[in-house]
Symmetry: C2
Subunit: 474 residues, 2 copies
Amino acid sequence: MHLELDGKGALYEQLTRALKRGILGGHLGGGSKLPATRDLANDLGVSRNTVLTAYELLCTEQLAMARGGSGTYVAHNMGPRTSPSASHAVGPQSRYAARTRRLGPTMLARTQPPVRYDLHCGEPLLSPALASGWRNELGKAAMHTELRYTTLQGLAALRQAICDHIARRRGVLANPDDIVIVSGTQQALSLVARVLLDDNHRAVIEDPRYELAFQTLRAHGCRIVPVRTDEDGLVTNELPTTSVRLVYVTPSHQFPSGSTMSLPRRMELLAYASERRCWILEDDYDGEFRFDSKPIPALRSLDVRDRVIYVGSFSKIVFPALRLGYVVCPKALVDDLVAAKKLDDLGCPAIEQAAMAEFIKSGRLERHLRRGTAELRRRRNCLIDGIRSHAGKHIRLIDSRAGMHLIGWLPGFTYARFAKLIELGRQRGVGLHAIHHFYSVAPETPGLILGFAGLSPIQISNATKILGACIDEV
Amino acid sequence: MHLELDGKGALYEQLTRALKRGILGGHLGGGSKLPATRDLANDLGVSRNTVLTAYELLCTEQLAMARGGSGTYVAHNMGPRTSPSASHAVGPQSRYAARTRRLGPTMLARTQPPVRYDLHCGEPLLSPALASGWRNELGKAAMHTELRYTTLQGLAALRQAICDHIARRRGVLANPDDIVIVSGTQQALSLVARVLLDDNHRAVIEDPRYELAFQTLRAHGCRIVPVRTDEDGLVTNELPTTSVRLVYVTPSHQFPSGSTMSLPRRMELLAYASERRCWILEDDYDGEFRFDSKPIPALRSLDVRDRVIYVGSFSKIVFPALRLGYVVCPKALVDDLVAAKKLDDLGCPAIEQAAMAEFIKSGRLERHLRRGTAELRRRRNCLIDGIRSHAGKHIRLIDSRAGMHLIGWLPGFTYARFAKLIELGRQRGVGLHAIHHFYSVAPETPGLILGFAGLSPIQISNATKILGACIDEV
């Protein structure tokens, strides 16, 4: 009898599992006799005790039975069992699964295989100081945090700290009762979709778009209405006149085009939502990193009709692996959102919430944001200088006042030449990323999303030098 | 002019916000003149500079504008704005929200207001040693964990550690590729519902039931078919003959009745799923805590047809505020489940995953489980002894071999008398919890779910003494 031991744990355990596989896989038929313990021990080169123990375990699991002196037999009630089918191909089991299968892949991290200088805009700004500061907070929080089930809506201390933080930094006045702690913008999107939208409801997203917002709403079964954006953000007079349930926007720093929504557009969008009784989801994904002194108030801070669902995340400003964010929720929706959060995961991990509350209250988050903004400004200037000196004739940079990426258009380029540039960049160790994938219809001019948060100033200089050389070559 | 400062941050910030509220709330009409800076400074008892700064900020935010020497005016494009409606009552916005509104509340934590001895079965077994051990793991993990976006399916090291753990302890053979890390059983349920079930698909749950499984499937829009359980677990020959997509079971320790599903029933359920091509969700919520030496293999370990979705959670065995669990997923469903996880939250927090991987690999989880099982056995024996000595005539305890609670039936009691008992218990400081809420039809005899994990042996003794006295009194 061929038995394959899997090398995990004690020998008798391995043998038990191997026999079990034999029984359940039908290789050892119901009622058949197992080899004599001495024989099997010899065959396998193990002690007889090991075999005896394995047989006993099979008997206690009722998979086999010992018959007096005659030996051990495979139990009858196993019945004839066929082996599993070789192919695991199964169609989607739900409409949701069918829809997700039709969605494209999403790139969150750097390109595979990694290149030396990746200008991907999903790369966060990380520092060793942050890791060790966060470690201290976690350690302290682990000692004093209640380890039982946490409140579904989120730790009260964290909700209070967030209210203070967004009042100071974003002009958003909220009450802790309006806040729901989530595991990031993605969960906020997913919960809001469940609470607000049925199959075939219409949702507006910006064009170009944040791919995961599109995918989440699409997977949920929504009909997506893309609305154009320009240098003033969403073109509000192109909003649909048909019924719309939700408008998803990134007003502080449109993703990916980088524009900031102007105040008149903001007022128009609020009026639109108010008239049509639809909801606005304001994704303030990197509004914390601003490089000028001209703040535009968050939509939520202008929203007297309580139609704006404001979503903030610590993933972009602290680190992505954290998975912690928050929703400032219109009063009418708080209970529904908390119910959806409950059924989704019973609330966020308590220790990380407590650590974040303390990180905010102690002023460490603000310090991190100040330093982060200064560092991002350096990197951004480096990118702008580098592009100007090495590719200034070919790349038209669009200035944006916030965030972690810039857009560079290549007006003289065809898409064929542009594709060659990206490929050549990859060969030379520079990861370049096209913007047209984010548009519903590719713009006439090809453009690059140039993320600058993940590389040091020197790396950025080198990358732009190589980029310039590549452009001259193609 | 009445302005209310909110006391948060610098005075000029408070003043800016107060003015903003006035403008957006319509109390300061579009085009109207703001008070002279000197007057307002006098009114409020602040410096004139504070007022000047606030006015400047309003201007940069385009909410006001300065007109030469004549003063500062509220911007025109604000338009006439009405104040928010007093009532926030809004109907449910989606079918999902409507369904969640119809669901009852769920009690996860102890009763409110707290009683001295709460025999609630949601209480975990906690120890200071665990908190400090976990703190060390977290601290170490924070220093070496990749802080960028994590893999959606879960950290490879954790998936490998889980494979080893469940092979050793639960006889489940899995490959790291089959594992999806989730934030607990609740998220597993919610993702599986999305991947497998459309509106009006049928799902079987056990009767009596785990309330959150019922609620999750109900909120998702399923039709729920309750199937009776007895001392051998789910009564498989009462499974519906109509089409069913999912069978949710708790075979190691039925929640809440405490029975263990017998091997013949397990084989019947597997055959049922295989014939009808439906799926089984095996919730092994407290299968790690067993008090006898007679292990019954997990359904998943008997499943050669790959129809069982096995769900394990660290919430019950480590601590609930952790929010970490895993799914051992049939190969046919892995990609769909990962896609659903992606759209739900982009993966679990990386530091906690890394800490848990190390906690398992270092053997600390097993040690914790051994100690936990010994401690739970003590508490369970204490409960059994206490009930026998103080209420043995009235309470028929159902022995169960695993977990953190026992069931006690009160055959001589009417429901009226039973309700009095629970109320009297509450008054005397003992939290008692009825089992009939978990049945689709209340059983003839009233019964108690007696959780023993959250109280020390002495507390349990005291609680049973009081319980005995209460019974004698009602």
